[in-house]
């Protein structure tokens, strides 16, 4: 187990550097004229261009720029955005908000998906099963760019149940509606996977054995079946967590949450290389750590899985 974790951590270091290099290269290739992008449609004077070019090493070649960035990163300095804010500060402001949003969304999605999935698997072909099937199909078919403004209009403005925007440093209540919207993007798949997996396991031999031993149906389902059925669901949830953190771009915009998604959009709009790479680097770490945790959770759920 320990050796396994160490090996994975070492792999993570390699993946991390590889990923940041690729992202840096992509941003560099996309970079046209970041100073003009920042200024929008206003003209830039020559001396301003000169001063900023020098400050951000914009006239240097790719490897020199990457070298500067990596040197800073390894000494704990994420650098400066083109609007002269410390990227470390931007990260510190944005990440907690997005993490809270993503976790809340994940909890909402998992609770609904697993309970509804198990229930519809137990009553296959019943009314509940069919209703959830149709409902999940509708949710799957609606992209988040539709759901988010719609939810804001209906629940935030017309009914007034939730605040229409969350703002910076929101309360749990203010985050609930955007989290629900985000949850809807992963809910349907999780629900369907839970249902299929539970339905399959209900037919397996060990369930019959357990019943034959005289265990109650409730115990068989809640302990034996559910535990075995959760393995694919956990994988999905792990992948979803990364997606929720990165994929909150639309939701964060609609509900005015200054998190990771918004900062990424801003960074890409202004061709701000170090800002993009800063946020993506942390995103890469989140993905790697979550994947490791998911793999370790397998062992917890299925004693047959051992890591050496």
């Amino acid at each position: 187990m320990f050796r396994y974790i160490v090996r994975r951590l070492l792999q993570m270091v390699l993946t991390f550097f590889g990923a940041t290099f690729v992202v840096f290269a992509l941003v560099f290739a996309n970079q046209d004229d970041p100073l003009q992008a920042l200024a929008g449609e206003r003209p830039i004077t020559e001396s301003q261009r000169l001063a900023l070019t020098e400050r951000y090493h914009l006239d240097e070649g790719f490897f020199t720029q990457y070298g500067y960035y990596m040197k800073g990163l390894l000494t704990g300095d994420f650098g400066e955005s083109l609007t002269q804010r410390k990227i470390a500060d931007l990260l510190a402001d944005a990440w907690p908000t997005t993490a809270r949003l993503a976790l809340l969304a994940l909890v909402i999605a998992a609770v609904i998906a697993i309970s509804a999935g198990v229930f519809s698997a137990l009553r296959r072909g019943g009314v509940f099963d069919n209703v959830t099937l149709v409902a999940t199909l509708i949710i799957l078919a609606m992209p988040i760019v539709v759901i988010a403004p719609l939810a804001q209009l209906v629940f935030g403005i017309q009914l007034g149940w939730f605040p229409p925007t969350s703002g910076a440093d929101p309360s749990l209540w203010a985050l609930f509606l955007p989290a629900l919207v985000l949850a809807s993007s992963v809910l349907a798949t999780q629900l369907r996977v839970t249902r299929t997996s539970v339905a399959e396991n209900l037919r397996s031999d060990y369930v019959r054995t357990a019943r034959a031993k005289g265990l109650s149906y409730r115990r068989v389902v809640s302990v034996h079946v559910l535990r075995n059925s959760l393995i694919p669901v956990i994988t999905l949830i792990g992948v979803d967590l990364g997606q929720l953190m990165a994929g909150a771009i639309v939701t964060e915009g609609v509900f005015n949450i200054p998190g990771v998604g918004f900062n990424l959009v801003r960074a890409i709009r202004t061709e701000d290389g170090p800002l993009v790479v800063g946020f993506v680097s942390v995103l890469v770490i989140v993905f790697l750590v979550v994947n490791l945790l998911v793999d370790l959770l397998y062992a917890a759920l299925d004693p047959r899985i051992r890591y050496e």
Binding site: Q36, R42, P43, S47, A51, R85, R100, L106, D169, D302
Partner: protein
């Protein structure tokens, strides 16, 4: 082992997740219900140092923190505010600014002439990279503060330090007198002084001579009716509160919360729900429902935005003036402002905005009148190109009207016209610089100070900073220059009007629309007005209850 207690783990994980989600959720309801403050929506300003603030969000916030030398009256003429008097010498070259006594910065420092001189020198010094530095270019000695890279941007050599660090044309004669010597006579210089970059900075702003103190931008100290409450909360809000015993005009409210939004639509949602008091620009997609949502709290007022398309001079097919006239006549401006912009913009038929003194209606004449028959006739006679393109930046709200315009051109001229979206404005400029055949270029202009010259100079003169299409006419340049150096503002306007007449004949660009402020406010506030610079009038706005 782990495997023994999966449920405990799952429960624990959920608990941690919930805790993490819950913790740190500060009380966002710092209710301002009882206090006499208003909230106004903005986007995150890029900067708050006056000389580096050229976009409207930062300028709005600064307008609450600073008290300008001059402001503009209803006729858009400059009137002294923090200045006692601003007087030129006989040649309009040396201007003497006398300050009103008794003003202090928020930290208690008295406002003296040297504060202005220091701030302006900082802004003009090239290596400081200030976005508003070009405003100081009319002051004597500006060139010596700039450096030039000797071998171009790509070359290995670094640019040398500029020759001087201070503008020779600026002098603090005594504590209340600034003497400004211009490089060339400029009769309307007083209007220029109304812009954001001409605010003063206190001694506390500088850690050394010409070096801004670290962190000053986040807790900026001004001389205005409001002061910062705490620091700039990036991407969240900027709170300002009333200064006690302010010597100038006293606002009727006790404070402002500048709420920062990423998207206009989110801002609009908050406005309709009553969580925000003022939105200065309602997004185009919400215009259709704005009257129903807000009733008479949805209003319009003029602003200075001028929308047009330019003809790149490097494309020979546009060199015949009849082609340019024909395309202009093929566009039905009224239909587009009504259908696409729902009346939030008005058709433009002149080359400057209606908000500046000297504006005349319809200087473009027949060339801007929708006349498809005549357009077709001219176009065929001039053998105009069979393919037309209008290039725009796709990150702005331009696709709808560009496509509509193209369809009108198609219908009128019987040629093929396509709208081409470039991801960003910078991409468009790059293509123009490389002289790629981009076709017509979508452009817009917001004035810096209310003078005709602020449209004519940057947009159409040979050396104009935003003359991306390369228009050049020696007579035009001469007239604009003569207007600048004319003895009085009236004579200047006469010259500039002559210059505008040249444009009407040559049609280097097609005027399309003048934009307006379309703003809305909540039931909590009244007396809301938005000026030409898209700023809320902070001295008039009041809370209702």
């Amino acid at each position: 082992m782990l495997g023994k207690s999966p449920w405990k783990m799952a429960v624990g994980a959920t608990a941690i997740a919930l805790l993490a989600a819950g913790c740190g959720s500060g009380d966002s309801e710092e209710s301002t219900a009882t206090s006499n403050t208003v909230s106004i929506g903005i986007a995150e300003p890029q900067h708050l140092i006056p000389t580096n603030t050229t976009e409207s969000n930062g300028a709005e916030v600064l307008a609450s923190l600073f008290y300008p030398l001059v402001d503009f009256n209803e006729q858009n003429e400059p009137v002294e505010v923090a200045a006692e008097s601003i007087t030129p010498d006989k040649t309009n070259t040396t201007w003497t600014v006398k300050l009103k006594p008794g003003f202090t910065f928020h930290n208690g420092e008295p406002v003296i002439a040297q504060n202005y001189v220091d701030a302006w020198n900082y802004g003009a010094y090239g290596p400081n990279g200030q976005g508003g530095s070009y405003f100081f270019s009319s002051i004597a000695g500006y060139a010596d503060l700039q450096s030039k890279d000797p071998d171009g941007e790509e070359g290995p050599q670094k640019a040398p330090d500029p020759k001087a660090k201070k503008l020779t044309g600026l002098k603090a004669v005594d504590d209340s007198t600034i003497e400004i010597k211009l490089a060339a006579p400029f009769a309307s210089f007083k209007s220029v002084l109304g812009y954001t970059v001409f605010y003063p900075l206190p001694k506390a702003a500088f850690s050394a001579d010409g070096v801004l103190a670290e962190g000053f931008e986040d807790a900026i100290i001004g001389n205005g009716p409001f002061k910062m409450k705490g620091t700039w909360q990036h991407d969240a809000q900027i709170q300002v509160e009333k200064v006690a015993d302010f010597k100038g005009q006293v606002p009727k409210i006790d404070g402002i919360t500048w709420k920062i939004y990423q998207e206009d639509s989110a801002q609009y949602a908050d406005l309709v729900a009553g969580n925000l008091d003022v939105q200065t620009q309602i997004p185009i997609e919400s215009l259709a429902s704005a009257s129903a949502d807000l009733g008479d709290r949805f209003q319009k007022s003029p602003n200075s935005t001028f929308q047009f398309v330019g003809f790149p001079t490097f494309q020979k097919e546009f060199s015949d003036v009849r082609v340019r006239q024909a395309i202009s006549m093929a566009i039905n401006r009224q239909e587009i402002t009504d259908q696409v912009f729902l009346g939030s913009q008005t058709p433009a038929t002149s080359f400057v905005s209606p908000v500046v003194a000297g504006y005349r209606e319809n200087t473009c004449g027949d060339n801007c009148k929708y006349d498809p028959a005549k357009a077709k006739e001219l176009y065929t006679a001039a053998k105009g190109p069979a393919e037309l393109k209008i290039t725009y930046n796709a990150d702005g709200p331009h696709k709808a009207w560009v496509d509509a315009t193209c369809n009108q051109i198609k219908a009128a001229l019987g040629v093929n016209c396509t709208g081409v979206g470039e991801p960003k404005f910078a991409d468009l400029l790059t293509k123009v610089e490389k002289k790629e055949p981009v076709g017509l270029i979508r452009l817009g202009w917001i004035m810096d100070y209310p003078l005709m010259e602020n449209y004519l100079g940057p947009l159409y003169s040979t050396e104009g900073s935003s003359n991306y299409y390369g228009y050049s006419n020696a007579d035009f340049d001469r007239l604009v220059e003569e207007g600048r150096s004319a003895a009085t503002p009236e004579e200047a306007i006469a010259k500039w009007q002559q210059a505008e007449d040249i444009l009407a004949k040559e049609m280097p660009v097609i005027p399309l629309r003048n934009a307006q402020n379309v703003f809305g406010y909540s039931e909590n506030v009244t007396n809301v007005s938005v000026d030409l610079f898209q700023k809320v009038n902070l001295y008039e706005i009041e809370r209702t209850s």
